[in-house]
Subunit: 275 residues, 2 copies
């Protein structure tokens, strides 16, 4: 049976590409129009796995997705990195001068703002998704409308790319995580990365003490992010990623962390996706 | 002579409110339609000070603005915290049932998505700013169009608030910084906070060593954020905020930091804006 994989967005989207890169082409794709909807699919069992963007080089961490993983006790079981490319696409035979409106997700429109300044005849209209508009243009044979989507969408929906790489910032590496509700029961063979969350009081040196422990246990920090705990002034949450060579040393570090930090939680252990 | 203060956005916007909170009502406001334009105004001398949102509780750090401050060598000379409220406003006499379109900044539309799901008859149209639309509705007497803006905009432009607090996440505290190009020459009397930037090699314990120094020098960490350096794999940038009681101890810490960290830079020293 094919794996049921929930993605944010539609067929042909970047999340779809990540699902295929991670699980191969034989998956049962479940399209969700928001990250909240994706989590609901996981919680009610209609999907076994979910793909979520978690940080990118333009905006940094996608904090609301960290909150979704944390508050719903999802487990991170893998990660993938993808460079995001936005392409302008429309029905075959169309040219950019004939495009009147582009419909897309607000974030994609924002990331391509500079390009559209050079084409002021095109009206920008918000829509729910990037690739879903590509599908709609194709299915409903919509003239004069363009979508912003990855190359894969043009292939799937038989559209022509009017202009490629229209995003303002050319380098936008995005990190995606693969999440599930079930506690992972896999072996530890290929595991060399972990995502942690904990809280600390605003006490001088409290974070330094934690990082000393991680360093002493031979854990390498690849990410750290502090966030004020909204309801408790002067308390901070930390999201930390570490890589390691030896799982035993990782376990030892976690035993000490559980004693030293408040609200300590392993969000997931997985294989480092950085090539 | 009134201070020339550049803001992102228009009269009546949150940035305008921050400018007024920080400098009082007697300022010469310079409206900039992007953060890039704001920086240009500072660099060419048409503004002496700039107001920039730098982080919020929903999305975390606004990384592109950190990059603007860093790459243009701006100096942070102050900070302000503001809770962001989105209100739906239109011409007097209008009701929500008569509104056909709302024009606003993509980010504001995104943050009010849930509200508009309950009003599917309203079309969401991207615009350049929040408060500027309020001004246009008022000036051009635009019927059936609504803006999403702070309460101040309704007061300035004589509009009616059709619905208040329409943002999905009710608690959105945003931190703004006040920046300038000139090197600050003020005294150190009220200075008790600093923003730092540095790079570290991906070497185990390198961050812990830095944090130990800060802790030993009695510096309190209020924020830490790592960012991979795009052009150099395995190198990380860190943005760190610290508070302190004693400026001498701060100077001592900075002397050591300059020796231990690469590309070390003080982005600014200022008075803690947290009440």
């Amino acid at each position: 049976m094919n794996k049921r994989v929930a993605i944010q967005g539609a067929e042909g989207s970047n999340h779809h590409k990540v699902a295929r890169d991670f699980y191969g082409p034989s998956i049962q794709l479940i399209e969700c129009m928001s990250f909240d909807a994706l989590v609901s699919c996981l919680l009610d069992g209609s999907a076994a796995f979910g793909i979520m963007a978690i940080e990118n080089t333009i905006a940094g961490s996608i904090i609301p997705n960290y909150a979704l993983i944390d508050s719903n006790n999802l487990h991170i079981i893998g990660e993938e990195y993808l460079n995001i490319h936005h392409h302008l696409m429309a029905l075959k035979g169309q040219q950019i001068s004939g495009i009147k409106e582009v419909w897309s997700h607000p974030m994609a429109l924002l990331q391509c703002k500079e390009f559209f300044k050079k084409h002021p005849h095109i009206k920008l209209v918000e829509d729910t998704d990037t690739a879903e508009v590509a599908k709609r243009i194709s299915k409903e044979n919509l003239m004069s409308i363009a979508a912003i989507a990855p190359k894969m969408a043009a292939e799937i929906f038989d559209l022509v790319i009017l202009e490629d790489e229209i995003q303002t910032i050319k380098e936008n590496a995005t990190r995606f995580v693969i999440v599930q509700t079930a506690v992972p029961t896999n072996g530890v063979d290929q595991i060399n990365k972990a995502s942690l969350k904990f809280q600390l009081d605003h006490k001088r040196g409290s974070l330094a003490a934690i990082l000393n422990v991680l360093s002493d246990c031979k854990m390498n920090l690849t990410k750290i992010q502090s966030l004020p705990v909204i309801e408790t002034p002067w308390k901070y949450s930390f999201f930390v990623d570490i890589t390691f060579d030896n799982y035993r040393e990782y376990e030892k570090a976690m035993t000490i962390m559980a004693i030293m930090a408040e609200e300590f939680k392993v969000l997931g252990t997985y294989k480092n996706g950085r090539k």
